[in-house]
C-alpha cells in the first residue's frame, strides 16, 4: 500500500500519532517539546478527530508538575491520556511518573530529550533528562529519526496498552524534534489496527468510578509496602516481548521491521558501538562506509532501553564481537560510568558469569558524546572506532571536545567525511527576519513532495532575539539520509545578507566546484572587488561558481520588503536545476498558494510577483584568476576587551565555540559581567540621530531605550575642549545641576537595534518640518565611524554624582548609568526598559534572581551578558535557578544577606571598643533609604574595613582573629542590598505562583518585578493565566475564554505587600515612583509591568502607544498600593490612571493577538471582546471603589 509522504519534523510526527490515539492531552510549554502541544491544540481548535472520531480535550496546565498530575488523574478515570515535555519539565513529572508506573497505568509521554540545567541551562538535546527517569518504572523507548518518531509513537501506544507498563517515548531534542525530514505517514487504518478496542476498554475498565467503587493510592507500612512493590515484576518481565510483538505487527503493516536492539554492520564485526538516539544514524552511515573499506565494525542501536532485556541485547550482538564501546549522551558526575555503559557491562557480565556469552568476554569501554546537541560527526565516530583498535582503549572518554584538564577526550581527524556524493548539500545563511529558514523549510517540502528524493532540513539559530543569524542545512538525494549532523562539505552555499561577508567565513565548508549565491546591492561588474580576500581565495581555489541577486530591490518592487524568502528560494531552484525552470516556478507558486492562500489573494500575488521578477535579476559572475581583495574578516571583539572576552567570548561570537578546550571554561558556571559591550553587532540599518537644536532634554528617549543605546550626560562644558569634531553638545537646560553645564545625548550606533521606540516617544516636533522630531532615524553606515568615536568620548566623560540627582524625576533618573546594556532582546522589547531602570536605580547594590524565560535568555545566554558594572566595579549580581522556583531562589538571597548582615552587625557591636563606638553607632543606625544614605554608609564601611585591616596587621590570634577575618568578609553586607526577583507572567502567574505567593507572604524585603507580556514569550507565545480574554495565543488557538488573573489584587489582600501596576508607555513617572517606593519599602513588594511584546503582533516601534491604549481602555489600571500609608492613616491604594477612556476593543484591535480571532472565529471574537469589555468595567469599578475608601484618619 502506497502511503502518503510528508515532510515534517519530529515533533509533528509524534503529535500526529499522539493526537489520534488519545482522549485527553495535558500540556505545558517547554523547549524543544512545545510544538507537540501546539500542534495538538491547533488540531483540537480545528475540531480534528482521534481514531474514535472524537476531538481530544487539550488542556494547558500551570506547570509540568500540574500536567503530569492531570495526566495521572485522567488516566485513573479511564481516559487515554498523554503529555509532551523535556528537560526540567520531565523532572517535574517524575513524582507522578512513579505513581503512574506503580499503578501499572497505560500511557505514553513523548519527550524531546534535552539537557538538564546544571552549570548552565541549555535548551539543546541530550539524554540527561530521560536518564533521570530510569527508576520511575516507565519503559524508555528511543527513536533515532523522524520516521521512527512516528512509528515508535504508535508502537509505544500499542505496547503500553498491552503491557500496562507506561512508556516514555523519546527522541533527540532539536536534532530529531526539529529536523524536517521526508517520511511515510501512517494512515488512520494503520493506527486503528494497532490499537484494539479491547485494550482500550480494558484500560477504561480499570478506571475509578462510583459505579464500581474501589480505592487506589493507599498508604502502606513496613509490613507490606515491599511486597506490594514487587507485584509488578511480571509486567516488566513481559514488557520487552510485548514491545517486540508490536514491532513485528507494525512490520507486517508497514514493511519497517524494528527490534528491541537493531544491529547494523559487518557480520563478522569485532568492534561494536552500542548507543541510542539520533547519533546512531550517523554511526550507521559511518559503519556503512567503513565496512565498504573492509573494516570489521558495527553498531547496535538500543531501541527499548527500559525494561532492559539482556537476552535480546546479547542475541543482537554478532558472535565475532571483541570490543564494545558504549556511547552515552549524558553525564553522571561521580558515577562509575554512564547509565547505558553500566547496563551493558552488567549484561555482558551476567551472561558471562552464567556461561551464556557466545563470545569471549569483550573489552567494554564507555564514552560521552553530544551533550547539548554538540555535533557528533562521522569523523568523531571514526575516532571512536580507531580507539577501539588499541590494545588498551581509553575508557570513560569524551568525543567531540578537547578535554585538556582530565584528558578524557579522544583525538580524531576532523576532515574525515562519509557524505555520499549523490546527496545535495546546501547551506543557507540568513537573518531570522528575512525568512530564510521558512523558505528552506518550504524548499524541502517542495523537493520532498515533488520528487522521489529523500530530503532533510535542519536549522541552526543563534541565541539573540534581535538580528539573529540562521543557518539552514539542506540535504536531498536518491539515497536515504542518515547524516544527523551539520553539513561540513557543502556544494551550495547561499548568503542572504551581504553584511555576513565580513563577519563569517561561509565558504570554509564549500566543496570543490560548489556554487555561492550572494544577495547584494552591488552590481555584477563591481561585486568582485567588494568580496573579502578569503572569499575570493575560496572561490578561485575551490573552482566555485558565483551568482548574485539584489533581493532587496526585488523585495522593494514587489512589496515583500526585507522578507526576501521567496526571492532567494526562486534563485536556489533556478541555479540548482533540480527541476526544469518552468516546472520549478510552477512548484514554487503552488507552494506559495498553499502556504499563503488563507492569508488572502494580495499576499499570494505579492509572492508570485517576487518569483516572476527574481530571474531577471539573477546573474552569474565570472570569477577572475587572481585574488585582488585586501578586505579581511572582522575581529569578533575589540583588542581592548578583557582577556576572558578575547580568549573565550570572542571565539563563541565568531562561531568557534566548539574549539574551546575544557580548561578555558569556568568550572562552576561563573562568568564575568560587562561583556555585551564588546560584541558590536551592528544590526541596525537605521539608527536614531539627535537634533540638539530642538531637544528639550526630557530624557524620555533614554528611559524607553530597550537596549541602553541612548545615553544622556550632564557635565562641565569645559570638558568639551577635546571632543571629536562631530560630537554633539548643547547647554544644559536647568540650573539644579550647576552652572556652566553641558548636555549630550549620545547613541551607541553599533549596539542599537534600530527599533525606533525613542523616536516614537519623543515629544518634540520640528516646527518647520513636523515629520521630524528631536531624534530621528537615519542610516547607520555613513555615521558609524564618527559615532563610534563619539561614543568612546562620551563614555569617557564623568558621570554626574548620583547622590546629587533628583532620581524621582524622569530627567535626572536617566543620568544614572544603566548597568544593563545592549541585550540581545527583541528590537523594541517592552521588558528591558524596566530591567534597565532597576539597574540604573539600584544596580550597584542589587542581587537578581531571574526566572527562566526571555529575561534569563537575553540576560544570561552566552556568549555575552548585558549585565554590567559601574566605574567603581559595582553592579548587579545575577543568577538564574529554574523557571518554577525563582521567588524562592530570590528569597534565599534575602535570607542569606540578612544572615550576613546580622552577623556583621553582631561582630561590630562585639568589637565596638576596638572599632570605635561612634562609627559602630553610625553604621548600625544608618538611614539607607536614599542614594546619599547609601553613599554615606559605604564610606563608613570603607572606614571600618581600613580599621579592620589595620587590626589584622597588629597580629591578633584566636577567636578575635577569626571574628575579624569574618567581619572583613561580611562588612559590605552592612550596606543595604537590594534583592530583585524578576521573571515573566508564565513564572509569576503560573508555574511559580505558589512560591511567589509564599515569598510575598513572608514579609521579607524582596522586590518582585513581573515583566508581564500576558503570554509565554520565550517559548513562542503560549497562553498563561495572564493572557486576557479574547486574545489568541498558542494553547488558546480559538481565543482565551477565561479572564486574566488579577495578580495585583490577590497580592493586595495580604495588606502588607507593596503592589504597583505600571506601564511605562502610559506614565513613565508613575513607573519610576513605583520602582523607588517598592525598593524603599521594608517588606515584600510586587511590581507588575505591562510589557509589549512581539507575541502581541504589533509594531514594536510604537509599542509604548499600545501600553497607553491598554491603560486608557482600563485593561491595565495604573496603581500603587503602599502599606506604609496605612501607618499614616491613609488609604494605601492610589488609582493613577483614567480608565475606560476608550473601549477595550479600540485597544485590543491594535494587536494581532486579538484581531486574528475576528478572522478565524468572528462570532466568538465579538462575544469575547464584549465579555472582555465587561471584565474591564467590573475591574475598573472595583478599583475605583478601593481608591475611594477613606483611610483610617477619615
Amino acid at each position: 500500500m502506497e502511503r502518503k509522504k510528508v515532510t515534517i519534523d519530529g515533533n509533528e510526527a509524534a503529535a500526529y500519532v499522539a493526537f489520534r490515539t488519545n482522549e485527553v492531552i495535558a500540556i505545558y510549554p517547554i523547549t524543544p517539546s512545545s510544538n507537540m502541544g501546539e500542534w495538538c491544540d491547533a488540531w483540537a481548535a480545528e475540531n480534528k478527530k482521534n481514531i474514535w472520531n472524537e476531538t481530544p480535550i487539550v488542556s494547558e496546565l500551570q506547570s509540568e508538575g500540574g500536567a503530569s498530575g492531570s495526566v495521572h488523574g485522567a488516566l485513573q478515570t479511564g481516559s487515554l491520556t498523554t503529555t509532551f515535555t523535556a528537560s526540567q519539565g520531565l523532572l517535574l513529572m517524575i513524582p507522578n511518573m512513579f505513581k503512574i508506573a506503580g499503578e501499572l497505568t497505560s500511557t505514553v509521554f513523548h519527550v524531546s530529550a534535552r539537557s538538564i540545567a546544571a552549570q548552565a541551562l541549555s535548551i539543546f538535546g541530550d539524554h540527561s533528562d530521560v536518564m533521570a527517569t530510569r527508576s520511575t518504572g516507565f519503559a524508555l523507548l528511543s527513536s533515532n529519526s523522524v520516521q521512527e518518531v512516528m512509528d515508535f509513537a504508535l508502537i509505544s501506544q500499542a505496547a503500553t496498552l498491552k503491557s500496562r507498563v507506561p512508556f516514555l517515548h523519546f527522541f533527540d531534542g532539536f536534532r530529531t524534534s526539529h529536523e524536517v525530514m521526508k517520511i511515510e505517514q501512517l494512515t488512520e487504518n494503520d493506527i486503528r489496527s494497532m490499537i484494539s478496542d479491547e485494550m482500550v476498554i480494558a484500560h477504561r475498565n480499570r478506571a475509578l468510578t462510583p459505579d464500581n467503587p474501589f480505592m487506589r493510592g493507599t498508604a502502606q507500612n513496613p509490613d507490606v509496602y515491599f511486597q506490594g512493590r514487587e507485584t509488578v515484576n511480571q509486567f516488566y518481565i513481559d514488557c520487552p516481548g510485548i514491545v517486540q510483538d508490536q514491532m513485528n505487527i507494525f512490520a507486517k503493516l508497514t514493511g519497517r521491521q524494528y527490534n528491541l536492539f537493531d544491529y547494523y554492520g559487518a557480520s563478522d564485526a569485532e568492534r561494536i558501538i552500542v548507543m541510542m538516539g539520533s547519533g546512531a544514524e550517523a554511526v550507521e552511515e559511518t559503519v556503512e562506509y567503513l565496512t565498504s573499506k573492509g573494516e570489521k565494525v558495527g553498531i547496535l542501536k538500543v531501541r527499548l532501553y527500559r525494561p532492559f532485556s539482556i537476552d535480546h541485547f546479547i542475541n543482537a550482538l554478532p558472535n565475532s564481537t571483541k570490543v564494545i564501546t558504549v556511547l552515552d549522551r549524558t553525564k553522571e558526575p561521580g558515577a562509575s560510568g554512564e547509565p547505558l555503559y553500566l547496563d551493558i557491562v552488567n549484561a555482558i557480565s551476567e551472561k558471562h558469569i552464567n556461561g551464556e556469552l557466545k563470545f569471549a568476554y569483550p573489552k567494554i569501554t564507555g564514552g560521552r558524546y553530544g551533550l547539548s546537541s554538540k555535533e557528533f560527526t562521522p569523523a568523531m565516530i571514526k575516532g571512536v572506532f580507531d580507539e577501539m583498535k588499541k590494545s588498551k582503549p581509553k575508557n570513560h572518554f569524551t568525543i567531540g571536545i578537547v578535554d585538556d584538564l582530565t584528558h578524557t577526550s579522544l583525538d580524531y581527524d576532523a576532515s574525515f567525511s562519509v557524505e555520499p556524493d549523490e546527496t545535495f548539500r546546501g547551506k543557507f545563511y540568513g537573518l531570522g527576519a528575512d525568512g530564510t529558514v521558512g523558505a528552506n523549510k518550504n524548499s524541502i517540502k517542495i523537493i520532498g513532495e515533488g520528487t522521489k528524493y529523500f530530503a532533510q532540513g535542519y536549522f541552526v539559530y543563534d541565541s539573540k532575539k534581535s538580528g539573529s543569524t540562521t543557518v539552514s542545512h539542506l540535504r536531498f538525494g536518491p539515497k536515504e539520509i542518515k547524516s544527523t549532523y551539520l553539513i561540513n562539505k557543502a556544494n551550495f552555499i547561499a548568503c542572504h545578507q551581504q553584511g555576513f561577508l565580513e563577519k563569517m567565513d561561509m565558504l570554509d565548508d564549500a566543496a570543490e566546484g560548489a556554487t555561492f549565491l550572494l544577495n547584494t546591492l552591488i552590481p555584477k561588474d563591481k561585486v568582485w572587488n567588494f568580496l573579502p580576500e578569503k572569499v575570493q581565495q575560496d572561490l578561485i581555489e575551490k573552482k566555485m561558481k558565483l551568482y548574485i541577486i539584489d533581493a532587496y530591490k526585488v523585495g522593494e518592487e514587489t512589496g515583500m520588503g526585507v522578507r526576501i524568502n521567496t526571492i532567494m528560494q526562486t534563485c536556489f531552484f533556478a541555479i540548482s536545476k533540480i527541476f526544469p525552470k518552468d516546472e520549478a516556478i510552477d512548484m514554487i507558486k503552488k507552494s506559495i498558494k498553499k502556504t499563503y492562500g488563507s492569508k488572502g489573494e494580495k499576499i499570494v500575488q505579492m509572492n508570485f510577483d517576487a518569483v516572476d521578477k527574481t530571474l531577471a535579476n539573477l546573474f552569474e559572475v565570472d570569477i577572475p584568476a587572481h585574488v585582488t581583495s585586501k578586505i579581511k574578516l572582522a575581529d569578533a571583539v575589540s583588542a581592548n576587551a578583557p582577556e576572558f572576552v578575547q580568549e573565550v567570548t570572542a571565539r563563541i561570537i565568531s562561531g568557534h565555540g566548539d574549539s574551546i578546550p575544557v580548561s578555558m571554561m569556568p568550572i562552576d558556571g561563573t562568568y564575568p559581567t560587562g561583556t555585551a559591550m564588546w560584541e558590536k553587532r551592528n544590526i541596525a540599518l537605521d539608527v536614531p540621530v539627535w537634533d540638539d537644536e530642538i531637544c528639550i532634554q526630557c530624557n524620555k528617549c533614554v528611559i524607553v531605550c530597550p537596549h541602553a543605546s541612548i545615553r544622556a550626560k550632564v557635565y562641565d562644558e569645559k570638558l568639551l575642549s577635546n571632543a571629536p569634531a562631530t560630537f554633539k553638545s548643547t547647554k544644559f537646560k536647568g540650573k539644579d545641576l550647576g552652572e556652566g553645564m553641558a548636555y549630550s545625548l549620545q547613541i551607541a550606533v553599533e549596539d542599537c537595534t534600530g527599533c525606533g521606540l525613542c523616536v516614537d516617544v519623543c515629544p518634540v516636533k520640528n516646527k518647520k518640518e513636523t515629520k521630524l522630531k528631536a531624534i530621528n532615524m537615519n542610516q547607520q553606515l555613513p555615521i558609524k565611524e564618527a559615532e563610534r568615536a563619539n561614543w568612546d568620548y562620551f563614555l569617557g566623560l564623568p558621570e554626574y554624582d548620583r547622590t546629587k540627582l533628583n532620581i524621582s524625576a524622569i530627567k535626572d533618573s536617566q543620568f544614572l548609568v544603566p548597568l544593563f546594556e545592549f541585550s540581545g532582546a527583541c528590537s523594541g522589547c517592552g521588558e528591558t526598559p524596566y530591567v534597565k531602570l532597576v539597574s540604573q536605580l539600584f544596580g550597584d547594590r542589587a542581587v537578581i534572581a531571574n526566572a527562566t524565560g526571555c529575561s534569563s535568555i537575553y540576560g544570561g545566554n552566552l556568549p555575552t551578558t548585558p549585565w554590567t558594572k559601574n566605574k567603581e566595579g559595582r553592579g548587579p549580581a545575577w543568577s538564574n535557578s529554574l523557571f518554577e522556583d525563582n521567588a524562592e531562589f530570590g528569597f534565599g538571597f534575602r535570607l542569606s544577606i540578612d544572615a550576613h548582615n546580622s552577623q556583621a552587625k553582631n561582630l561590630i557591636k562585639k568589637y565596638s571598643n576596638e572599632i570605635g563606638g561612634d562609627l559602630v553607632d553610625a553604621i548600625l543606625s544608618a538611614d539607607q533609604k536614599d542614594e546619599t544614605g547609601i553613599y554615606d554608609q559605604r564610606e563608613r564601611v570603607k572606614m571600618l574595613k581600613e580599621k579592620l585591616t589595620a587590626f589584622m596587621n597588629e597580629g591578633f590570634d584566636g577567636d578575635k582573629l577569626s571574628d575579624l577575618t569574618h567581619l572583613i568578609s561580611l562588612a559590605d553586607y552592612l550596606v543595604k542590598k537590594s534583592v530583585w526577583i524578576m521573571g515573566g507572567d508564565g513564572w509569576a502567574y503560573d508555574i511559580g505562583y505558589g512560591g511567589l505567593d509564599h515569598v510575598l507572604a513572608s514579609g521579607k524585603n524582596v522586590n518582585v518585578l513581573v515583566l508581564d507580556t500576558e503570554v509565554y514569550s520565550n517559548t513562542g507565545g503560549q497562553a498563561s493565566k495572564s493572557t486576557p480574554r479574547g486574545a489568541v495565543a498558542k494553547f488558546a488557538a480559538a481565543g482565551k475564554t477565561m479572564p486574566k488573573k488579577d495578580l495585583g489584587q490577590i497580592a493586595m489582600t495580604y495588606g502588607n505587600i507593596y503592589v504597583a501596576k505600571v506601564a511605562m508607555g502610559a506614565n513613565d513617572l508613575q513607573t519610576l515612583k513605583a520602582f523607588i517606593e517598592a525598593e524603599a519599602y521594608d517588606g515584600p513588594s510586587l511590581i507588575i509591568a505591562y510589557s509589549h511584546c512581539i507575541a502581541h503582533g504589533i509594531d514594536m516601534e510604537t509599542g509604548m502607544k499600545n501600553q497607553k491604549a491598554a491603560v486608557d481602555s482600563g485593561h491595565w489600571p495604573l496603581f500603587r498600593y503602599n502599606p506604609d500609608l496605612i501607618k499614616e492613616g491613609k488609604n494605601p491604594f492610589k488609582l493613577e490612571s483614567k480608565g475606560l477612556k476608550i473601549p477595550f476593543k479600540d485597544y485590543a484591535y491594535m494587536e494581532t493577538r486579538y484581531k486574528m480571532l475576528t478572522k478565524s472565529h468572528p462570532d466568538l471574537a465579538a462575544k469575547l471582546i464584549e465579555e472582555a469589555q465587561h471584565d474591564t468595567e467590573v475591574k475598573w469599578k472595583t478599583y475605583e471603589q478601593m481608591a475611594a475608601l477613606p483611610g483610617n484618619d477619615k
Binding site: T31, P32, S34, E38, W39, D41, A42, A45, E46, I123, F174, H178, L431, G432, A433, G435, T436, V437, G438, K441, F459, Y461, S463, K464, S468, T470, R563, Y596, S598, K599, G600, E601, K602, I603, K765, T770, C826, I857, S1017, N1018, T1019, G1020, G1021, V1032, A1033, K1034, A1036, A1037, I1094, A1095, G1097, I1098, T1152, R1153, K1155, M1156, T1158, K1159, S1160, P1162
Partner: protein, 329 residues
C-alpha cells in the same frame, strides 16, 4: 397614505433608507431600522483596501518573528481557517438578509478594478438585493487628468455591471468639473441608480500635537442643499433612479428631495444623532404633511420642483446664487 416608491427596480414601502454607515454593522440595529419603518437599508461599505490591509497586517505580524530563535519558531497558533476576503462582511450581509424582510443593499468600495468586480460578485452571491458602488477617488497626483479619473469611474461601473445581475447604484461626490457630464455617461452604462452625494472624510490639524487627525463631521440640515440642487437638475434627464443623501433630518427635508426628484432619501447623521426610532418620526410627519396638503402619494409630488418642472429653472443654476447674495442687501 401611499409612501411606497420604487428604487433600483425594488419595491419599497417608503423612501426612508438608512445609508451606509456604522449603524448597520450591528444586526440588532438592522432589525430596529426595519421596526422603525425603514424602506430598505444600505449596509455599511466593504472596503477592499481594508481587506488588503488586514491581509498584509496579519501576514506581517504572524510571520515577522518566525524561524528566528531556537525556542520559538513562531508566536501565533498555526493560522487555520483564517478568512480574509471580506467574509465577515458577507456573513453579516447574509445575517442581515435572514433577519429582516426589507431589501438590503450592499455597499462596496474597491481598490483595483479586479477587486471591484470580485467583491461585487461576492456581495451578489451573499444575497444582496442591490449594490451601491461607493466610489471614492481623491487624486493628489497632478499628472492625472480629470478625464483619466472620470474614466476610472466609468470603467469600474461597466466592469461591475458586466459581472453582476443585481441592480447597481453609484454613489458620487459632487467635486467634478461637470457633474452633469459624468452623470450622463454613467447613466449610459445601464446603472440603475445615482446616489447624490458622498461626503468626503476631511482631515483636520491638531495644533497642539502638530498632527493631521481624522475628523468625521456629521452632516447638518444645511448640507441638504447640494443634493437638492443636483437632484432637481438631473431629474427627468437620466434613466437611473436618483437617491439623495446628506443633511436629511426631517420629514420636510425628505419631502423637498422627493419634490426635487429623488426616489429615496438616505439618512445617517440624523440617525446617529437622534437614534434609529427617528425613522418612524420622519415617516409620521411625512404622512401628516401629505395629509395636510392633500397629497395621496409620493408619485404625485416626485419631481414637481425639479429643474424641468419649475417655472424658472435658472434658479437651480448660477442665478440662484446671485439671488441669494442679493437677498443680503
Amino acid at each position: 397614505m401611499d409612501l411606497s416608491t420604487t428604487y433600483l427596480g425594488l419595491n419599497l414601502k417608503n423612501p426612508i433608507v438608512p445609508s451606509a454607515g456604522p449603524l448597520s454593522t450591528n444586526i440588532d440595529n438592522i432589525k430596529a431600522m426595519e421596526d422603525a419603518g425603514a424602506g430598505a437599508i444600505v449596509l455599511y461599505s466593504l472596503f477592499e483596501e481594508e481587506i488588503e490591509h488586514d491581509a498584509l497586517e496579519l501576514n506581517h505580524y504572524t510571520l515577522a518573528n518566525t524561524d528566528s530563535f531556537p525556542e520559538a519558531q513562531s508566536f501565533f497558533p498555526v493560522p487555520y481557517d483564517i478568512k480574509i476576503g471580506g467574509e465577515d462582511y458577507l456573513n453579516h450581509l447574509r445575517k442581515a438578509k435572514e433577519s429582516v424582510n426589507i431589501p438590503i443593499i450592499g455597499s462596496l468600495n474597491g481598490k483595483k478594478l479586479g477587486g471591484w468586480v470580485d467583491y461585487a460578485k461576492k456581495i451578489e452571491q451573499a444575497g444582496a438585493d442591490a449594490l451601491e458602488l461607493n466610489i471614492y477617488i481623491l487624486s493628489a497626483d497632478h499628472h492625472k487628468s480629470c478625464t483619466t479619473i472620470e474614466n476610472t469611474y466609468l470603467d469600474i461601473v461597466k466592469s461591475v455591471l458586466e459581472n453582476v445581475k443585481i441592480p447597481v447604484a453609484v454613489k458620487l461626490h459632487p467635486f467634478f468639473t461637470s457633474v452633469s457630464e459624468l452623470v450622463f455617461k454613467l447613466d449610459q452604462t445601464g446603472v440603475k441608480g445615482l446616489v447624490l452625494f458622498n461626503r468626503f472624510y476631511q482631515p483636520d490639524i491638531d495644533l497642539d500635537k502638530l498632527e493631521v487627525i481624522p475628523n468625521v463631521l456629521l452632516s447638518t440640515p444645511m448640507d441638504l442643499r447640494l443634493p437638492l440642487r443636483w437632484t432637481a437638475i438631473l431629474y427627468g434627464q437620466v434613466k437611473a433612479d436618483l437617491a439623495a443623501t446628506s443633511g436629511i433630518y426631517s420629514a420636510e427635508d425628505a419631502l423637498k428631495l422627493i419634490m426635487a426628484g429623488s426616489k429615496i432619501t438616505q439618512m445617517l447623521s440624523c440617525l446617529l444623532k437622534n437614534g434609529i426610532p427617528h425613522i418612524a418620526e420622519v415617516l409620521k410627519h411625512m404622512v401628516q404633511w401629505m395629509e395636510e396638503h392633500e397629497y395621496e402619494s409620493l408619485n404625485t409630488m416626485r419631481g414637481s420642483m425639479s429643474y424641468i418642472n419649475i417655472a424658472d429653472p435658472a434658479q437651480f443654476e448660477r442665478a440662484n446664487y446671485m439671488k441669494v447674495l442679493h437677498s443680503y442687501k
